[in-house]
Amino acid sequence: MIRQSHRLPGALPPRERELRETFLKQVELVPGGDRLSRCLQCGTCTGSCPVSYAMDLSPRMMIALFRAGMIEEILHSRSIWICASCYMCTTRCPQQIKITDLLYALKRVAMEKKLYPDRFPVYLLSNSFVRLLYRYGRNHELLLLLRFQLRRDPLQLLRMLPLGWAMYRRGRLALWPKRIHGVSAIRQMIDAAKTLELPREAAPLEFVPGAIGYRAVGQLPEKAV
């Protein structure tokens, strides 16, 4: 499970450095994201999470690992994908850490760096979703499921036929997608977003003498909190 670290504090391997940098960049864009540094390790997040029982790393462990400079472990875990984004942890966190939003940030890093197995359901689903949105401007449930299952496991479609039929009979399965008028504007926005990364200084990731925890292996942007 968790790789034993034999490193000296502050000596970040290049891979860890790269992932950490990408993550910190994402965190900077989450309003209140810097509160991550206030974690008390109380475990309220893990105890409140309805799906933590199915995770390999609990939310609290994720923050601890991040501080220890082991972000690669987190990105390879099943946990970040199991979060259904119900925000219970965020609501209850005594330090107002935006845990759900930080998990989104982790998912974005993992997506960007392609850190998931082949035919990974979450990737397939979001990829199908993003394509539909680009094409029609709206989601279309039937096409989303078809696209997803054809790439994931076509045989499953047979199992889903009765459900689909039940919905269809009651007029709850729209067969044809609707394309919105402004779809070209949406496409322009999405295309432009890809080139929009503002230049920024990379967060300093050097070992900070005398610092403890995550501060020893890289700074979070310190904002007024």
Binding site: L29, P31, C86, R138, M189
Partner: protein, 288 residues
């Protein structure tokens, strides 16, 4: 009083009866509802995990369209849309950097957004703007003794400080109590239904749904009333799979709150899309 209406993608598909019943209820109460023209998908929870800026821009296009003619209240019945649109508003308010990026992207679509749209949930509008008293006075049919499990789901009360408590909301309880129904003890009222996990990690989602069903049944509910398309589908469409997986025999009707409210207001069953529910529900016929 007129509100702008953002139906969202599911209300054109699996949650069609939510759209139908919402319109019927607003009409019965004489509250105007004008659909937002040419709205697009809000990006849901999925786009957030792919790219934040794009997801905010896509969602902000709707807000920009809604705010074109000045300050407006925009009604978003789907919990995912509601949360995403609210979140977009908050991010754009709190982060000048994101605002700058999103503005630049909106400009590509010939739009600009002046943060002048308030995102509202229909439950909030009905209870807090229209008012329970006015609704109760307009009701032509009592829901006497109907034991309902009020299920709010997660995203209309979290993470934003919305119109009710984020763990133990009471809005729907108060509404249906005033109409004669008896909301049962339902401590899991804001627990997660699993959302998209039903597609990606089904065993986890089925377990969550089982808990929601068993809590409702054990507390004597005759039906579950929800505010969210995703919850409705997970609880209703997958009830058989829960029964198979856990050797249970649940058969609980799962209604949108607007469907039950519409019945109390004397709307035609058909106008509320009741025939679209997979597990039939009839007022006055105990099903539990």
């Amino acid at each position: 009083m007129e509100y702008l209406y953002y139906p969202g993608c599911s209300l054109e598909g699996a949650a069609r009866q939510y759209d139908e019943s919402l319109r019927a209820v607003f009409q019965a109460l004489g509250v105007g509802l004008r659909p937002l023209e040419d709205w697009n998908c809000c990006g849901a929870t999925i786009y957030m995990s792919v790219d934040e800026t794009t997801s905010l821009a896509v969602s902000a296009r709707n807000l920009a369209l809604a705010g074109r003619d000045g300050q407006r209240d925009l009604i978003a019945p789907c919990s995912a849309c509601y949360t995403v649109l609210l979140k977009t508003n908050r991010y754009l308010t709190e982060s000048p950097e994101l605002r700058q990026k999103v503005d630049a992207l909106l400009a590509k679509a010939g739009l600009s957004y002046r943060l002048n749209v308030t995102v509202r949930h229909p439950l909030d509008v009905l209870v807090n703007d229209v008012g329970i008293e006015r609704i109760a006075a307009a009701a032509s049919r009592r829901l006497d003794g109907l034991r309902v499990a009020p299920y709010y789901g997660c995203q209309i009360v979290r993470p934003e400080r919305g119109f009710d408590h984020s763990e133990f909301p009471e809005t729907m309880d108060r509404l249906f109590r005033a109409l004669g129904a008896e909301p049962v003890y339902y401590p899991v009222k804001t627990r997660c239904c699993g959302g998209m996990l039903m597609t990606t990690f089904r065993d986890v989602a089925l377990d969550l749904v089982r808990e929601l069903l068993s809590c409702a049944v054990e507390n004597g509910a005759e039906c579950i009333v929800t505010t969210c398309p995703m919850c409705q589908v997970n609880l209703e469409l997958y009830q058989d799979q829960v029964n198979q997986a856990f050797k249970t025999s649940y058969r609980v009707p799962v209604l949108f709150f607007t469907q039950l409210l519409g019945l109390a207001l004397g709307c035609e069953e058909k106008s509320l899309g009741l025939q679209r529910n997979l597990i039939p529900f009839q007022l006055g016929v105990a099903t539990a």
